[in-house]
């Protein structure tokens, strides 16, 4: 069919957006069942028996029909805009992820850079939420969040840059193609360490236990989201899980070879999905196994351990590539 390019791109974007939202809602169910099994219990099973398939739909419907309570003393404009500002970058990152060599909304030449830059815009939304709520707890948590996410975005970026240097390009499809022989996660020493650093930085950038001092459920209940209810809360949850899934996808692309896998080419996107879910499950497994650590300990780990380590790693990668000769593997 011959649609004008604008309409075609709009259609692609629409499809991808909906697919992402659906995936994100079902990933919450996956997390809950996985966590439940690790805790000797079943997880959602009642709604949509026997496995709770309709639970995410039920949750979404419930949040949509809830009353939207705005605190009287809240800063209206900032408060109302915060979920949107939080959600949009988290959705935008999916625009640059190719699911197969030619399947994706936009396979930018600067794909990885765009992803990393846009994904750190969510901090603005986060802080807006904490500030606009006019609530001491929310403010405290938002301040901690800004601290933590900024501190961990640097090691995150450096760890993500290691495959970029190894592949010699910022374009995601080129990075995946460069992993034909050996996935970067298994690349001797620097690849493996970079993957590990990437996972740790993901945990922290996503505010997942053991780094979830931001929400710290048992201290500052729900952190910056504490004053949000109904659909705004749903948007924030959506944004969080979308970001989580987005970084899992990026991890699968950069380190686990994206759509590469045995079998015919059309199996590629399924391999990709599987690898991203694997990264997600590993992160979830860590999340449900550890207690959290204090904010000063979190920052100490970032600045004193992770940042120097990833810097050194990046330099080492540069050396390796330079001595091997310019270009790919």
């Amino acid at each position: 069919m011959t649609l004008p390019p604008v309409a075609q791109h709009a259609l692609e974007a629409f499809v991808v957006l909906n697919a992402v939202i659906l995936m994100v809602t079902y990933v919450t169910l996956l997390e809950r069942k996985f966590a439940a099994r690790m805790q000797s219990r079943i997880g959602p099973y009642y709604v949509g028996r026997p496995h709770g398939w309709l639970q995410p739909i039920a949750d979404a419907l419930k949040l949509m029909i809830k009353e939207d309570i705005v605190p009287a003393a809240a800063d209206r404009g900032v408060y109302n805009l915060a979920p949107v500002v939080f959600l949009v970058p988290c959705m935008l990152i999916f625009a640059t992820i190719p699911f197969a060599p030619a399947l994706g909304v936009a396979d930018l030449g600067i794909g990885v850079l765009f992803f990393l830059a846009v994904s750190s815009l969510e901090i603005v939304g986060l802080f807006m939420g904490g500030w606009g709520s006019n609530n001491k707890y929310a403010l405290l948590s938002a301040m901690r969040a800004v601290n933590q996410i900024i501190s961990y975005d640097l090691p995150f970026v450096f760890a993500a840059l290691v495959p970029v240097v190894l592949a010699g390009s910022l374009q995601m499809s080129v990075i995946v193609a460069a992993q034909q022989g050996l996935w970067f996660a298994f690349y001797p020493v620097i690849g493996q360490l970079a993957f590990l650093a990437y996972l740790v930085a993901t945990l922290a950038a996503e505010n997942r236990v053991p780094f979830d001092i931001l929400e710290a459920e048992s201290e500052l209940v729900a952190g910056f989201r504490v004053e949000y209810s109904g659909m705004k809360f749903a948007l924030i949850q959506l944004g969080e899980y979308a970001h989580m899934l987005g970084t899992s996808f990026l991890g699968a692309l950069l380190f686990l070879g994206g759509w590469l896998g045995p079998g015919p080419a059309w199996l590629g996107p399924l391999w990709f999905l599987g690898k991203a879910l694997l990264v997600f499950l590993v992160v979830t497994w860590v999340r449900w196994s550890f207690v959290r650590i204090r904010v000063d300990q979190i920052l100490a780990i970032s600045w004193k351990l992770l940042l120097p380590a990833t810097l050194v790693l990046l330099l080492a990668t540069g050396l390796v590539v330079a001595t091997r000769g310019a270009g790919g593997v």
Binding site: F34, R37, M38, Q39, S40, R41, I42, W288, S289
Partner: protein
Amino acid sequence: MAITLRNLFRRPVTVRYPDVQRAYPDRFRGILALTYDPETGEENCIGCRLCEYICPPQVIKVEMLKAEKRNYAKTFTLELYSCEFCELCVQVCPTDAIIMLKSFDLATADRRDLLLDKDRLHALGLQFEPSWATGNRLRDMQAPPKPARAEAKVEAKGETKEPAE
């Protein structure tokens, strides 16, 4: 982390209530009920009000009705919403009239449903399975053996122990 992974593959311990009920032990202290004498079909309660006096939160109210051969309870109200389920009323009952059942399934949205009157208590007694404990059994279990009654006591304990197995 290895521990959580190991637990991932263990069977969950959840009991899918209300689809699946768990087995209640014999001595379960559930909701209260009044009983009938199995041989004569008469009510066991003689309206002596011992349970009313011993109840710590004072949820039982009894009125006695005097008759020729034996007394009855004219009215017997039990406020189940305040009941502590301590089983003291069961313990003191001389005729094993009030017992506890192996069920607690009486949740309701209206508190007045839990203000049990005599008919309701008798109906509950027929509806659910009774627990092991009755007044005489509990008192026999607790009483120190008198030398003259040592053998009778052992027999009674032997009998009453069997249902508990």
